[in-house]
């Protein structure tokens, strides 16, 4: 017992030393440095925006105080922020298919691993090029240093002096109130919103993932105080992949509208809806049997729609809810759709292609599902936030009548906290602890088996 106590005391002292020894450093993300505002002014807890930060973003990264143009900045100001996260994590995945005889007798095993690791590196650079003209560029690497462009866009804001006329062009995050790009959690399954990425088992439609940045043109309008927001975007049905990999005339529309209400001491409450309606190719010309990128035709439709609510219960507690009803055309349900996607990790000719004469099985149905995300925050103060999230995705119609009704259903639970020992307008630093547990029905290697996965993550999240 006394050994356990001394063990605990040691850990406590070490943790206090580690956190307490950190200086009140100057450092910061680019916008806070530009405007001299603390992270907490725009972020409920960075990277998640609060209402003021959302308005700043909606104004084209401007405070609208006539000091937004770069001509007002110190010439040495450089609008760049780097973000990276060294972590320790323990990952446990159940029912992974393994070779029989490799120490396992039924072809599956739970894989558990732990160790120190890195996230990728993000180079956020953005800001105004001139009053009401802004840009955002985000080259992002994975943990091996392989880069891609996560965001590349230019914005024109307040056209003709109206806050209702703002447009952006390029690759950008969709206008999701619960932003996946500003998610507070970092684990593999908890670091994304399952509701934003859900794809039924066997479905080939990768184009309806509203959590991914997309290529297109967006119009956004908002009231001066940002209480009312509407947006509409025309996107290429490519899931943000460059190079016109799909085909001609496959586009997606994404629409949002929301209204916020001042409820006195409770805070500001926001409710709204979103809808994504699009089509994408399922038929590709082939060369040597391999689909040719850009040759897609035979567009089939898909949709995602739902409600969003952000509810504040005083200054400490808030709850965000996102619902979704999704449906894909029956062809997508049979795996057609992403045959030409170079990023799908599968050899092109392994994926089905809706070439002339292809007939769907009699059991094929258009898959549809319902999902919801509930994310709660307890903000003890701007430097300490507790996060809890529950996500559920439930199939309402399977792609095949032979599938079990619950095949692919997901339940995901994430809890964690982030502690920011420093809070200035110069840099961001967080001590991050998180645990995610996810359950998926029927996706084990053997029929009818469910898969449970979990991850514990501890790390430093910093940007400067």
């Amino acid at each position: 017992m006394s050994s356990r106590r001394s063990h605990f005391s040691g850990w406590l002292l070490f943790a206090l030393f580690l956190l307490g020894a950190l200086p009140q450093a100057n450092a910061l993300p680019a916008f806070a440095r530009k405007y001299g505002l603390r992270c907490s002014a725009c972020h409920e807890a960075w990277p998640m925006l609060n209402y003021f930060g959302q308005k700043f973003k909606d104004n084209g990264y401007q405070l609208m105080n006539d000091r937004d143009a770069p001509i007002w900045q110190n010439p040495s100001y450089w609008p760049v922020t780097f973000r990276m996260t060294p972590i320790w994590h323990r990952v446990s995945t159940g029912r992974v298919a393994v070779d029989v005889g490799a120490g396992m007798n039924n072809g599956e095993a739970r894989i558990e691993s732990s160790g120190f690791d890195l996230s990728g590196l993000d180079f956020h650079t953005g800001g105004t090029l001139e009053k009401n003209i802004s840009f955002y560029l985000l080259p992002s690497s994975d943990s091996t240093g392989t880069f891609h462009f996560e965001t590349v866009m230019t914005r024109l804001d307040n056209l003709w002096g109206s806050s209702w006329l703002n447009v952006k062009l390029g690759k950008f995050e969709l206008d999701n109130l619960l932003s996946e790009k500003r998610i507070l959690t970092l684990t593999g399954n908890g670091g994304i919103y399952q509701t934003y990425h859900f794809i039924p088992v066997g479905d080939g439609n990768i184009f309806g993932q509203i959590g991914d940045n997309q290529l297109g043109l967006e119009w956004l309008g908002h009231s001066v105080d940002d209480r009312t927001r509407v947006s509409a975007a025309l996107l290429s049905s490519s899931d943000g992949n460059t190079g016109l990999i799909t085909g001609a005339n496959s586009y997606t529309g994404f629409f949002t509208a929301s209204q916020a209400f001042d409820t006195g001491k409770l805070g500001v409450q926001r409710v709204g809806f979103y809808a994504m309606v699009g089509d994408a190719a399922t038929t590709y010309r082939t060369s040597g049997g391999i689909p040719i990128a850009g040759s897609g035709i035979g567009n089939k439709s898909f949709s995602r729609e739902g409600f969003v609510g952000q509810f504040y219960f005083g200054s400490h507690f808030d709850l965000t809810v996102v619902t979704q009803h999704g449906s894909d055309n029956v062809w997508f349900g049979q795996g057609f759709g992403n045959a030409s996607d170079p990023n799908n990790g599968t050899p092109f000719n392994d994926l089905p292609n809706n070439t002339p004469g292809t007939v769907l099985p009699a059991t094929a149905r258009a898959p549809s599902w319902n999902g919801a995300t509930f994310e709660a925050h307890y903000v003890y103060n701007p430097q300490l936030i507790f996060i809890g999230r529950y996500e559920l995705e439930r199939m309402s119609q399977q792609a095949n009548t032979t599938n079990a009704g619950n095949l692919g259903n997901i339940s995901s639970y994430t809890i964690g906290y982030r502690y920011y020992p420093i809070m200035t307008s110069r840099a961001g630093f967080a001590w991050h602890n998180e645990y995610n547990w996810m359950h998926q029905d029927g996706t084990g290697p053997l029929p009818g088996e469910n898969v449970n996965s979990s991850e514990l993550l501890l790390g430093f999240d910093f940007d400067f």
Partner: protein
């Protein structure tokens, strides 16, 4: 054993974070000896309480205005103009006579409007209650609010019709009270005194440039402009002209000042009249009338 270790790691992390967060929370109230945390504010039907605004002040304001409200936040060295020192109880944007305290409504309006050409943002995303609470918090920094009452808001007579005669008369007022000395004959903030101006803390300060399209700091309506030069901007070289300009003349001056601004939704008629009159900038060397 590894499981126990993980559990302990988790608990230790949470506990350490809570302890340190509690410590840092305490920093903001370290000066409570002044005992003014019970300060209230009243705007319309809303009543604000200073202690309710502590969290919002810490989240949004402390980086510039500082924990003690003295304008010495960590960002102050890099800001121009400097953040307001609330402890002095001196405020630019008031509806009250020069030298007096502002009303709660004045402070509330400033928070929601922001201050153009400064780093003070427009905080209209905060709820009305949050803003009223922040007014009380701002007041609690200065002992003046304990000892004095706000001044009585000045009376602004009904706005008359804009006429060519009034615009011309406004130009005469502009010349007579020598607005041009700071603001320049064309309102371009380049008058002969412009480069010498300092605020009450002896820091350089620029006059307002009517021609660059920026918003006046204390509001954009005709009434706001009337109020600015009749109450003055305390803490700056902009005095109150209430002793020099009669209310009727003040409206004339508002109309003339509108002609100096670039085209906007407020000054179409005034600019049209100025064009018809062929209005030229005032002549500083002309004999006084």
């Amino acid at each position: 054993m590894p499981t126990k270790l993980l559990t302990w790691s988790w608990l230790v992390g949470v506990l350490a974070a809570l302890l340190l967060a509690a410590t840092s929370q305490a920093q903001i109230t370290s000066y409570e000896e002044k005992g003014r945390l019970n300060t209230d504010s009243h705007v319309g039907k809303l009543t604000g309480h200073a202690q309710n605004a502590a969290a919002d002040y810490r989240r949004y304001c402390v980086g510039c205005h500082g924990e003690l409200g003295d304008g010495n936040g960590e960002n102050a060295p890099w800001l121009d103009p400097k953040p307001r020192d609330f402890t002095l109880g001196i405020f630019k944007c008031r509806s009250t006579p020069t030298g007096t305290l502002p009303t709660d409504q004045d402070l509330y309006d400033t928070i929601g409007r922001g201050l153009d050409r400064s780093n003070m943002p427009i905080w209209n995303t905060l709820t009305k209650q949050e803003r009223v609470d922040l007014v009380a918090w701002v007041k609690h920094f200065s002992p003046r609010f304990q000892k004095e009452k706000p001044g009585a808001p000045i009376e602004i007579p009904a706005e008359p019709e804009v006429t060519p005669e009034r615009v011309k008369a406004g130009q005469d007022v502009f010349a007579r009270v020598q607005c041009w000395k700071c603001h320049g004959v064309e309102g371009m903030a380049n008058g002969p005194s412009a480069s010498t101006l300092t605020d009450d803390l002896n820091r350089p300060i620029l006059p307002y440039n009517f021609t660059d399209g920026s918003r006046p700091k204390c509001g954009t309506s005709d009434q706001d402009i009337y109020r600015i030069f009749m109450t003055g901007l305390d803490g700056t070289p902009m005095p109150s002209f209430s002793d020099n300009i009669k209310p009727d003349e003040a409206w004339d001056l508002v109309f003339y000042l509108r002609t100096l601004q670039p085209h906007n939704t407020f000054n179409m008629k005034e600019r049209q009249i100025a064009k018809q009159l062929g209005l030229k900038p005032v002549n500083p060397n002309a004999p006084a009338q």
